[in-house]
Amino acid sequence: MSTNRITTSDAQPQIQFHQASPPALPPGDYSLKVKQDFTATGVTQPFGTVAPFTVAGPRFYLKPEEVYSVYPPPDLGPFDNALPHIVFTRRTLPWERTIQGNYTRQDPYNPVPWMALLLLSRDDFDPGTLVPTVESRTVNGLLNPEAGIQGPIGLALEGGQTLNDLCNTIDIPAGLFAEIVPAKDDLPFLAHVREVSLAGKETLSLKQDGWFTVVLGNRLPLTRKDPKNPNPTVKPEGEINLVCLVSLEGFAALLPTVASDGTPTAPIPTGKSAVRLAVLASWKFTCYGDNDFKTKMAALNADTLIGLPTDKLTASDDGTVFARTALTLGYAGLNHTTRLGEKTVSWYRGPLVPLEMAVRDPYEAIPCADYALRYDPRNGMFAAEYAAAFELGRMMALNNRSFARAMQRFRNRVAQDIAAEARQKALDSQFGPSDQLDNSIIQLFGGSGASRG
């Protein structure tokens, strides 16, 4: 197994590449046997038990949440130079099974992934023929396909799997299968593990450990872009490419081989016109234009503070000037039904404001939301944001039952502590501090001779 570090242009080590990460115990059915020989004065009695168990793992379908990301994104972009790839957070996924039907242990020095990314495009099919689509079938339809179609070989169901389970499948013409499916020698290069730093990422993603597995495609997308004329006056139309993550479990004997001149052949039995594969994930993207990450980010309109646009409020009467000021301060006019049922429009703004507001210490304690409603007599409008914030806080607290209870307990505890301290203080003022209390009582009940019982 080998590991490599890559340093990107901003000079912090960001990412490490590892060859593979096969699981310690691959998915499948196991049984745990325990045997003990009990010997007593010449008699030997064997005891034992068998505990069957199954290690479950994705096989014919993959839950969408197992996929962390895909590239190219399901979007438009100039992806003509990119090999597609898919990223998982499950570190062992591509090596959990093998391309042989029955599980054989991965060679630790040359692990072969059981999944591959296939890219299909329009020019794979003659005009007028149907482009295959991803279809939902039962596992039975995958393992025992109709005549003329080749499926995976030698797969036995494991615990928890039935022939009636649904999975996604695709039928690929035999000739195309030979052309685009990776050869057995290619497969080990098409999956690896990456370890990256999680700094600066979404808070949610911090639950992950920074290990990602990547399965890489072997085929570049179809594009109409001409590299010799990168900026044509008339932009060509986009080209749609379909990428499928397929399971190659049970395809070891059918994978193509490539002759030294580059001609691929696959040992598909005669009479089989197509190959049926389980599709674990699929997406489409379009090769078009120049909007990749850098150009998209550079095109962002970044010169804005939060707030409504004021460009239409150009008049100079008092009302317009006032409204323009309010919008610049981040306010929006919203419909407001007052407590008395009156309908009006009031100013509101959220906690995200376009100007720095100093922290006040302390904030005035307000007893209820209406107390925070502010009224501007010059134009007869309310500013309701603080009242809304107070009411929202109440609703959020009441919505969270454990918080509301904890608050109640906290309140009671403080009130009790204060009452206890007040009682103690009353006693102290009568008899002196508590460590002298014993003496006071002793004196009260008649001199040093009394027992303290």
Binding site: A20, D75, F189, S197, G210, P309, R360, E391, G393, M396
Partner: protein
């Protein structure tokens, strides 16, 4: 608030229990606040734009007051109630820095207490949707990195980021776990790799592992599978890997174990990095 009850007592603890502190600290970072309360009018958030903001501590103080007002027995505010609520607010405003967790382990600057004013931005772009795991880094006026307190997606294409202090400059980076692999297209189904990266630390020299080797020779033509009527655009991966290995050897950078890890390093494209400056004024 002219009387502070804490001055009247010696032993009573006004420190709220952890459960309350946690909820309030999260509220300060606007967890649980419905989107309409954050952005009351959708015209405030035009597509493909970054909107910078300051957090309004007054708004948050009112929300925390509202949250801590539950369970009162009468609406008449007592000095005790005021004291408790103030203590809870003070705590929450400081503890907000701890919600994201300890940043030190992952190389982020560590925030121990919130440094108001907190600032941040809302990013609405197809970049958020298309590139899972974009990385944000923010810097203050002295160029010191500011700790992120919250980075979350509110919608598939809307990202909310809150930083611990006033941000003067920030960078957004393409996620390295999603760094893509590529070959330079020459047209007519031909592709090539223009330069190689160093993959071994053993061979010495001034180039760091992972960096591009200067003068790595002529571009390497990618061996492709032959198609019947059209270019297949299918790379002969094992062949290409062995071409990389031979070239590295001829450059004195021999890598005897050339696996998917080394292949990945050679095929990966550099990540995109974009700078932003909030409008100053």
């Amino acid at each position: 608030m002219d009387k502070d009850w804490t001055k009247l007592t010696d032993t009573v603890s006004y420190d709220p229990p952890d459960e309350i502190k946690r909820f309030l600290a999260r509220s300060v970072l606007l967890y649980g606040v419905p989107f309409q309360y954050l952005v009351p009018d959708e015209r405030m958030l035009i597509p493909e734009s970054v909107h910078f903001f300051f957090l309004d501590p007054g708004w948050i103080a009112m929300m925390v007051q509202g949250a801590t007002s539950v369970g009162r027995l009468d609406a008449q505010d007592t000095v005790l109630d005021t004291t408790m609520r103030h203590r809870a607010l003070e705590k929450a405003m400081v503890d907000a820095a701890l919600v994201r967790g300890n940043g030190k382990d992952i190389g982020e600057p560590q925030a121990t207490a919130a440094k108001w004013p907190l600032t941040g931005f809302l990013l609405r772009s197809s970049v958020v949707d298309g590139w899972q795991g974009v990385e944000m880094k923010a810097y203050d006026k002295d160029g010191v990195e500011v700790a992120p307190l919250r980075i979350d997606r509110l919608a598939p294409d809307i990202l909310l980021c809150i930083f611990n202090g006033k941000v003067m400059h920030m960078t957004v980076k393409q996620p390295p776990e999603g760094l893509h692999f590529g070959l330079s297209p020459l047209g007519n189904g031909k592709y090539q790799r223009l330069s190689l990266r160093k993959v071994t630390a053993k061979s010495g020299g001034s180039v760091e592992p992972g960096q591009q080797i200067p003068n790595s020779g002529a571009p390497i033509d990618a061996p492709m599978r032959k198609g019947k009527s059209r270019p297949t655009r299918v790379v002969r991966v094992a062949e290409l890997a062995s071409l990389f290995q031979q070239r590295l050897k001829s450059l004195g950078q021999d890598a005897p174990d050339f696996t998917s890890g080394e292949f990945g390093v050679e095929m990966v494209e550099s990540p995109g990095l974009v700078d932003f400056k909030p409008p100053q004024g």
